[in-house]
Symmetry: C2
Subunit: 187 residues, 2 copies
């Protein structure tokens, strides 16, 4: 049976989320994988209850079904990744699932924090509010980079201008995932 891969990322907030989801799922197939994409719109509106909690439960269910996941950690409305995707990263690692991740920026976190400056008379960097900025050449917070390093594959950084829908990092992760899950496919 083909392994199932959960596809997480902030592209669900783009106007063409459904098209991107379909494209990602088609790419998964080409690598011998089944992509599970959270098409929130598939949640039936008529069902009684809170729609947000239904989406939460559907996503959790998909993650539990998945054999692995590929996450899009491109910065979203901040110097860091989308918190929904980061929650899922943590959850999947807690469940012990193999994860792969990419970001459409090549830069390190510090370079993206507005007003980053060296701390006066000391080591390290701070932002305009005097809050410490991590300075480890990581793509994002050390827990995120650490998690990916821990499971064996550092975050794939692609210089694609932070475009949420860019798929070059995704394709590299697909290759890693199919190698790791030992899938036979005709590339």
């Amino acid at each position: 049976m083909q392994p199932k891969v959960y596809l997480a990322g902030p592209e669900v907030f783009l106007p063409n989320a459904v098209d991107i989801g379909r494209e990602k799922k088609a790419l998964c197939e080409a690598y011998g994988l089944i992509g599970l994409f959270p098409f929130d719109n598939e949640i039936v509106d008529e069902v009684k209850g809170r729609r947000d909690r239904q989406i939460f439960a559907a996503n959790v269910d998909m993650m539990r079904q998945a054999d692995a996941a590929i996450l899009n950690l491109t910065p979203f409305r901040s110097p860091s990744a989308d918190v929904g995707t980061v929650f899922e990263l943590g959850y999947l690692i807690g469940l012990g699932k193999p994860v792969f991740a990419y970001t459409a920026v090549a830069s390190h976190l510090r370079s993206r924090v507005p007003g980053a400056a060296r701390k006066k008379g000391g080591d390290g960097w701070i932002d305009r509010s005097g809050l410490l900025i991590e300075d480890f050449d990581n793509a994002d917070n050390l827990m995120i980079d650490g998690a990916l390093g821990f499971v064996g594959h550092e975050i794939v950084r692609v210089d694609a201008g932070g475009k949420l829908s860019d798929l070059s990092g995704f394709k590299i992760c697909l290759q890693l995932a199919s190698d790791t899950l030992r899938v036979d496919y005709a590339a």
Copy 2:
């Protein structure tokens, strides 16, 4: 034995992080709990290897030891919570640990996204880049609020101007945690 509670939050980036950590640990004691606070500075600099990965491993170790966690989800450098804390929330839920969380803002996520506007000719809200904004009266992304709701306690929202070091929400979470963990303490 007193239950151990992991204390997560972006206050580790404040200049007085160590003082806040000590204060939080002391409050835990008053509620019959042992607070585990990630004092990153305790990581010995002389140890060989990457310091960021040592901090990651130390935090993971603390979370695995913990019986529960209290997380500070106050917005950090964005409309949303600190991604490090959100990663930990996901991880702890994946491990099946009871979690409690608070934020020092009472507002919902949509109200904090810059340039939020109604979508022309349709339902819903978008930001200046045309990206969808969730509109569920949640404190943050639906995966975050959903996770807390799922484990039984919604995010505690306190109107404290987004002050990262505010402890009023933390105290409410301590009460919830000690009730849930059935701790006897003299309040």
